[in-house]
């Protein structure tokens, strides 16, 4: 097993997984925050928009989104993100991972908003803060702190879901595993080593987020 791994760029593949996860997490957090704001806004049309996005994207399989990004958007509609085929696939993978997980980030944040007693929002409006001010000064900071744990779970799910990017040819960890299985025949040890790689990535994150959620919890 050791000499098999020595012949392949194991570290490089996991590095690509980390890059993919990092940029997608950033994208998902940004889109997700906007969505959460839409879903708690006082304007019915915006709320409807947010709800529609979450229900549509959350209930679509990620593989489907991934493949349709390349087959539909990049190849048929010609929305190339890069002239290089590899970079194009990589960027589309980031876009689709962001778009997909934004729905989960939005729901995590919204649950965070729901933990805030209604009296606080009413108090914020009563002292004359606008919707924007009460959102950025009162609601969102508490919502983020209250939803650290579900956000952590979403991040861990995102890291593992990044393996789906191999279906459009991004040679991250799962792509390398496919190559090794093809050349060296499949076996439990190969799968085990890759599973271990993901555990190494996600286990410390889980511990970190649990401790963060405890330290940052809003004491009421």
């Amino acid at each position: 097993m050791g000499e098999i791994l020595a012949r392949y760029d194991f570290v490089g593949a996991f590095w690509l997984t980390i890059q993919l996860s990092f940029w997608s997490a950033l994208g998902a957090l940004m889109i997700g925050t906007v969505l959460a704001v839409l879903r708690v806004s006082p304007v019915p049309v915006l709320r409807l928009l947010g709800t529609a996005y979450v229900n549509l994207i959350r209930n679509t399989p990620l593989t489907l989104l991934m493949v349709s990004s390349i087959l539909g958007l990049s190849l048929i509609l010609g929305l190339r993100l890069s002239n290089d085929v590899k970079t194009d696939a990589f960027l589309w993978a980031i876009v689709m991972l962001s778009v997909y997980h934004a729905a989960f980030v939005c729901e995590a944040l919204r649950s965070g908003v729901n933990t805030i007693p209604a009296g606080q929002a009413e108090a914020a409006r009563a002292i004359g803060l606008t919707f924007n001010q009460s959102l950025t000064e009162v609601l969102l900071p508490q919502a983020f702190r209250g939803s650290i744990a579900p956000l952590g779970s979403t991040l861990i799910a995102l890291i593992k879901n990044s393996t789906v990017a191999s279906v459009i040819g991004v040679s991250e960890a799962a792509g390398l595993m496919a190559t090794i299985v093809e050349n060296e025949t499949g076996g439990v040890p190969v799968f085990f080593v890759f599973a271990l790689g993901f555990v190494v990535l996600t286990l410390p994150l889980g511990v970190l987020f649990t401790s963060l959620s405890r330290r940052l919890a809003v004491k009421r």
Binding site: L71, L75, S166, V167, L176, T179, E182, T185
Partner: protein
């Protein structure tokens, strides 16, 4: 839960695992063979609502017939590329007839009878495309293949300046090819011919016919089972000499205008 209880559960699970690992040791029932085939490869091994069609299926049925299993007694089991060795090793299948190339790395895990067919890596292009005449005319073109496959690796190694799109399955590559998103699809010519022969694609796609590698398809079976290997080898020889082999090729890959490449029909090697 106490540690003792957890320990007992772990031990029970380990026992169950070791038992299932041994389960494959029983001798092969030649009257009811379990054969691993591809379920998603038109022209080779395809599951059309419980009805199995393709070259590999015909070959498997013929071999099973010679070994003593009638067509209706065969159990076909899906054998995706990544699971073929495990399926054989654990005894879940007796034979694998699934575009299974004989390689040294695989010979360490399983035994092969055959080859029963010699395929080669080739290109599938749109029928109206005249710019691609062979692997040397690929400069500036975009190719498509499956992530991690031997064909994809070979293209990267031999033609580094060709752009290579990779998908999870060949069907997605065919879609991209028809939509003019890529210029060619590359893998074994048999698989390509299978797609070109599909009713929906007839006349729209063609195989270039300039193979640039050799893939020896063999029948995979449990490592060291010489008796079974010899029987399968005899069946393959009989299939080639009595004309069935040619019949199967014509029936499954013929509609694409495909002619088997050089070295076909092959002479099966002796079992070892």
């Amino acid at each position: 839960m106490s540690f003792k209880k957890i320990g007992a559960i772990v031990a029970a699970a380990a026992l169950a695992l070791s038992l299932s690992a041994c389960g494959g040791g029983s001798s092969t029932n030649l009257q009811a063979l379990k054969i691993g085939i591809k379920f998603d490869q038109p022209g080779l091994g395809l599951n059309e609502g419980g009805k199995f069609t393709g070259f590999d299926v015909d070959v498997a049925t013929y071999i099973a017939g010679k070994l003593g299993t009638t067509a209706e007694k065969i159990t076909f089991i899906q054998a995706p590329s990544a699971q073929r060795e495990t399926l054989i090793d654990t005894g879940q299948v007796d034979l694998v007839v699934a575009t299974y190339s004989i390689t040294d790395a695989r010979k360490e895990k399983v035994s092969f009878a055959g080859p029963y067919f010699i395929a080669g890596q080739d290109l599938l292009i749109r029928a109206d495309d005249t710019s691609i005449t062979g692997p040397d005319a690929l400069a500036g073109k975009t190719l498509c293949s499956v992530t991690g496959s031997t064909s994809a690796q070979k293209v990267k190694e031999k033609y580094p300046d060709v752009q290579l799109r990779e998908f999870g399955t060949y069907s997605e590559c065919v879609g991209a090819l028809l939509a003019k998103g890529v210029d060619a699809l590359t893998t074994d010519d048999t698989i390509l011919a299978g797609y070109a022969a599909q009713a929906a694609n007839v006349g729209k796609l063609k195989v270039v016919g300039q193979p640039f590698s050799t893939e020896n398809y063999g029948v995979g079976l449990k490592k060291g089972n010489l008796e079974l290997c010899n029987k399968v080898t005899d069946a393959i020889k009989a299939m080639i000499s009595d004309g069935s082999w040619q019949k199967f090729v014509d029936a499954n890959l013929g509609p694409a205008g495909y002619k088997p490449g050089e070295g076909n029909p092959p002479t099966p090697a002796a079992c070892s």
